[in-house]
Subunit: 96 residues, 2 copies
Amino acid sequence: MKLQPARYRLEVRVTPRAGLLDPPGKAIYQALHALGYVEVADVRVGKAIALEIDAASEEAARARAEEMCRKLLANPVTEDFEIVHSDNAPAAGDHR
Amino acid sequence: MKLQPARYRLEVRVTPRAGLLDPPGKAIYQALHALGYVEVADVRVGKAIALEIDAASEEAARARAEEMCRKLLANPVTEDFEIVHSDNAPAAGDHR
């Protein structure tokens, strides 16, 4: 018996590592203050990458997505990544 | 009596509107296929903007963040935005 693959929608969030400079975040911070949003204390800009992956299970899709992050999607020196959620089978416990 | 402001951490997700071209997404899609990840059916790239906002309540922080999205963070013609979650008071129901 072979598992029928299904399509999973995962979202990967890639963020600049804490402590590293984030020039786009700084630019947005300054623009928001210039517009009067002085209550903004910090802005960090990352990428939200939505992936649709054909896999036999959600676990398999997540494992492949993690590999893709390590190999291509995130810079291992400057960025952190997190697989935020999946549409087919909502993940519990990893929303921050 | 005046409400003491607290700091709220909200995350805004800005994504290219469905149907519009997404050149960074296409580039990542092609790179993943070149690396052998042929099970990837689609890639869309958006921004994940983490905001820290001082406000009297979570609702107030969200309302201000929505204004910021409309005025600066999202392009009203080509992008959609969504306020995904907050750290101080996790929001229910708007995780996709």
